[in-house]
């Protein structure tokens, strides 16, 4: 009765199959089953945004998604952001603007930023702050993150 469920999904463009218990979150599956440890666990209750991934194009906190819910769906994690060996312009902008210190929140911020800029290439500062309100950072004070997003937006439009 307590058998694992087979889940078929697409992660960062690749077909992936995994077995998971219904009670396991997508975050646990990514980190513990698939060894994709780029996605971070922070609060584990949806407040901090460190575990942000996209699910069928929408950003979600993967701690509040069951692994079994990923059946037939497409996921993008931080591991799918870089273009081969080249960092994505958002990743470069975070580095160049020192938009991180301890780095735990960074994968979530970058996945969320990409979701924003893919849809809205030229957001206002207010819009950026509103969109990223579900991502908490206790190191930077946010200003450097906002600057990085603004720089990335410029470079992605160029």
């Amino acid at each position: 009765m307590r058998s694992k469920t087979h889940v078929h999904t697409k992660i960062n463009g690749e077909e992936r199959d995994f077995l998971c218990e219904p009670r396991q979150s997508l975050l646990e599956v990514l980190r513990d089953t698939l060894n994709m440890t780029g996605t971070k666990e922070g609060c584990n209750d949806g407040n901090c945004g460190s575990c942000t991934v996209t699910l069928d194009g929408r950003i979600v906190t993967s701690c509040l998604v069951l692994g079994v819910e990923a059946e037939g769906r497409e996921i993008t994690t931080i591991e799918g952001i870089a273009r081969g060996n080249d960092l994505h312009p958002i990743q470069k902008a975070f580095l160049e603007n020192a938009a991180l210190q301890c780095g735990i929140c960074t994968p979530g911020f970058i996945v969320a930023t990409k979701a924003l800029l893919d849809k809205e290439p030229d957001p206002s500062e207010e819009r950026i702050r509103f969109f990223l309100a579900n991502n908490l950072c206790r190191c930077t004070g946010y200003d450097k993150i906002i600057q990085a997003v603004q720089q990335a937006a410029k470079e992605m439009q160029a």
Binding site: M1, R2, T5, E21, P22, R23, Q24, S25, N44, D45, G46, N47, G49, T52, L55, R58, I59, V60, T61, C63, L64, V65, L66, V68, E69, E71, A112, A115, F130, F131, A133, N134, N135
Partner: protein
């Protein structure tokens, strides 16, 4: 989280049959309340029923006769991105965009916000103001519950064992109508209302023809205040009529003192927010002409 089984039925009939035979099951829509509660041990179950694959629970449609049908599992993001919602119920689009952050909005549903029955739920006072009705179904049949009767205590709703919320139904807005939900939170986003007010009005010839007001976070359940809305009917649109209604809303509030605010503070907020919500609704009604 403790072990549970998971099933994702694809028809309403199957969902109701499963729920009937597993009275302890919990329904999963966006999971932004349920998974937190299961993980914290505040809820326990042997079975989680994922209801997101049932067509009726994903419906989002509008027509002039029937108004808006909003499936119980439709996410906040799907709600505020929907063209008909934006056109006919901009206040609902607005409230869907202030519940949680973007990550939560992609999962959390308005129906779930209602079923979770938190006194502080942002969507519920607005749904009450907009005269929403709940379509509730079980394997034995269906019934309708007015939204103002749906929440009965903190975290408790009026559904009986085996019943599920299928959809919400909002009448099409009449000519000269406007609605607004306003809340006070220390942080602009991702915060829980210290107090919130939903207001809906219909104007005719500069006079209030219809008005409904409901409050969040100031009673054990979202609080419908008919006396405040009724006080406006037949009155001209002016500061006196609006302030009188705001005082009545304040008088109906029975808040508690907690970490988010004191009784006095919350009662004061009820008056301020009711006035502003009515003013916003009036502005919307006048601009729509």
């Amino acid at each position: 989280m403790k072990w549970f089984d998971y099933q994702a039925p694809t028809t309403l009939a199957n969902t109701l049959a499963l729920f009937d035979s597993h009275p302890g099951a919990y329904l999963l829509a966006g999971g932004t309340d349920l998974l937190v509660q299961l993980r914290a041990g505040r809820k326990q179950t042997d079975l989680v029923l994922d209801i997101k694959h049932v067509a009726e629970l994903n419906e989002i449609s509008f027509d002039v006769a029937d108004g808006l049908t909003l499936g119980a599992a439709v996410s906040c993001a799907q709600t505020y991105e929907n063209a008909a919602v934006k056109t006919h119920h901009p206040s609902l689009a607005e409230v869907a965009s202030i519940i949680g952050g973007i990550q939560i909005q992609g999962r959390a549903s308005i129906g779930g916000n209602l079923c979770n029955a938190a006194p502080s739920a942002d969507a519920i006072p607005l749904l009450i103001a907009l005269s929403a009705k709940c379509r509730v179904a079980s394997s034995k049949g269906e019934r309708q519950i007015a939204v103002e009767d749906f929440c009965i205590a903190p975290g408790k709703n009026a559904m009986l064992p085996g019943e599920i919320l299928v959809s919400l139904h909002l009448p099409a807005p009449k000519k000269g109508s406007g609605a607004s939900y306003l809340r006070f939170t220390p942080r602009n986003e991702m915060d829980i209302a210290v107090a919130g007010v939903g207001a809906s009005i219909v104007l005719e010839g500069g006079v209030f023809k219809h008005a409904r007001i409901a409050l969040a976070s100031v009673a054990p359940r979202p609080l419908f205040v008919p006396v405040a809305g009724d006080s406006l009917i037949g009155k001209p649109v002016n500061v006196e009529s609006i302030e009188a209604a705001a005082e009545l809303a304040k008088g109906a509030a029975t808040p508690i003192t907690d970490m988010r605010g004191t009784v006095e503070y919350r009662r004061h907020l009820c008056a301020v927010l009711t006035k502003r919500a009515l003013e916003a609704a009036v502005k919307q009604a006048q601009e729509a002409k």
